[in-house]
Point group: C3
Chain length 253, copies 3
């Protein structure tokens, strides 16, 4: 399933405007570069609006949101929408904290192409009862399926709920993507980088549900390969980037 | 000494709210994840206060302090104190620069659990004469022992003065922790990450002096092991994370 | 050519004040540490001015420029100039975005020691016609030679236009530095880190044109060595830092 999407991605080599959190910027950029895409981080509000109209896709990740950054994000999203560019939301720790929860609800009005989060985050976005301290999912992914379906229908977005098994839905269809490695939970930014990759895949022509699931599978596949030789979470990260750079559609088909 | 503390740490798997500098955020998060803890970086003032009341411990590192970030830090510290959560101060380059020096003196009034710094920083905090250009210690660690003891008595905090030998004092007792590797001084963030680990250990029940010294020893031990196979400072960093993830209380006892 | 410059650099072990973008701070610091220099990132405007008068050299990189950061940069540059400290400009994505383009033109009035950019950026700074989407050079390096020469003459700076071949000019002489590895374009921050190294080399006595070209060659040489054993862009980065730390003037001469 993922091979044709990866083939398109390699051909497109999309430029992705990443408005993401301070902790994962370098890893996110390196993941996109390993896959042959071009990352760019532009955060001054006036420039963020200028740039998201030029980029092929936009990522909004609220991990280290500030009031100033939220202005830049809103400007970028409005500009992307106006220019017909798709944008992806990673609602890090939404539900647990007030400012970002309000902001993400506001953003949903601008029709994201994809929302990628863990179970707690997707349930919070869908305004379902959730109890969480933030970044780690406290529910099984499948428990969020109802919330994801509701959210897909109300926003028009593809929703990806990721965990041990990733579930991707457009409100009508549901795809399940197994795989990955427990080491991925011991390295900061693997989820955030997945959202950036998903953002890149929204720039491709064709079925966005399939492309989103393909992005999830490519990341979990590279994770499995890297985990096979890694000595721990530290050596996993560079090996994971190597494996991403080696993924070839022909070998996968 | 460090094995029982590590055992408690693994059991607690604390959530640590890190308000730290921009240069070391990713490495800090990966160090905490490698040790089985949960890092989270929340920096908008309103959210920072919300979050530090939920977290098990708070880290304040002033490396890339700004006026805006100082507001978030002050809010987080006040909220942590109110909620009975311990907080740790890493006074990067204090003494050399005015804004952060004033800010750190202000913070000391909120009774940190631990202060972790190099000799120059601890001497500056204790308002002893110091000449430094910033991040590197210009004095031998032992020269700061008098300052550390004074600071421990005036603040009630455990003070960790780190260098070739780490000295940890609560004003009455002094522990010395040798070890580590010279490669640790060639990788950015090893000291900052140690402060984050120390912050995690403040969440544990028991003797805080012992726990702080244990955190210092665990980091230096992983550093020794990583240095044994590293080809230089670049490969040292991932190997160091691997070694942190492999530390087991049983093997150490 | 590079051996004598490296020898001076090792002796000087300069302290470099880096006002750089959020994506590359950690990698930049690790590159400088691997070469035996001391990086420091100080960004609060009042402190940035204090610190650049103490540091041996200053780096300004506008990759993730904000209005607030531009204030700190301007203060740092003015303070450096007043204290007789050299400063280096990395005009990331200038030409493609308005705010940074205006800001970089303003900065040029303060006589940078070196400007390091790709072809698009150098052409934009010289106000020559350029079409670019940002971070990647869309022209051959040699096409920027005329722009670089003009810019060197109008600003008094050494101009380094980097790409597959790096060209360095002071307006009268032109040096060409070949080498490097394609993997360097798949790792975020290699260009930004080169600018930080160049900034460090501006602190050395002697011929700045030679020192700048030497910095370019040292980075490309370490890149070649690392690429010989790297499995991809992920493992390249730590190996590159190892190789930087192993560069010795004697072995190179």
């Amino acid at each position: 399933m993922a091979a044709p999407s990866l083939n398109l991605f390699h051909q497109a080599s999309p430029l992705i405007h990443c408005l993401t959190n301070d902790v994962v910027q370098s890893f996110t950029a390196n993941v996109l570069l390993a896959l042959g895409a071009s990352p760019a981080m532009v955060i001054e509000p006036s420039e963020a609006g200028e740039f998201s109209a030029i980029a092929d896709a936009v990522l909004i990740n609220v991990g280290t949101l500030t009031a100033a950054r939220s202005e830049a994000m809103l400007t970028a999203v409005k500009s992307a929408v106006k220019a017909g560019r798709p944008w992806t939301l990673d609602p890090v720790a939404v539900g647990a904290l007030t400012f970002r929860s309000d902001f993400c609800q506001q953003l949903l009005e601008y029709r994201p192409a994809v929302v990628r989060g863990n179970t707690s985050e997707i349930m919070a976005l869908a305004r379902q009862t959730v109890s969480g301290r933030g970044v780690d999912s406290l529910h099984d992914s499948s428990a969020a399926l109802e919330a994801a379906t509701l959210l897909a229908k109300s926003t028009g977005a593809v929703i990806a709920v990721t965990g041990e098994i990733d579930f991707i839905t457009d409100g009508l269809r549901i795809l399940a993507v197994p795989g990955g490695s427990a080491l991925m939970t011991r390295v900061v930014g693997t989820g955030c980088a997945l959202s950036a990759v998903v953002a890149g895949f929204t720039a491709l022509p064709g079925d966005r549900l399939i492309h989103t699931a393909s992005a999830c599978r490519l990341m979990s596949l590279a994770g499995e390969k890297a985990a096979a030789t890694a000595g721990g979470p530290g050596t996993f990260a560079p090996l994971f980037l190597d494996e991403l750079s080696r993924l070839h559609p022909e070998a996968m088909a």
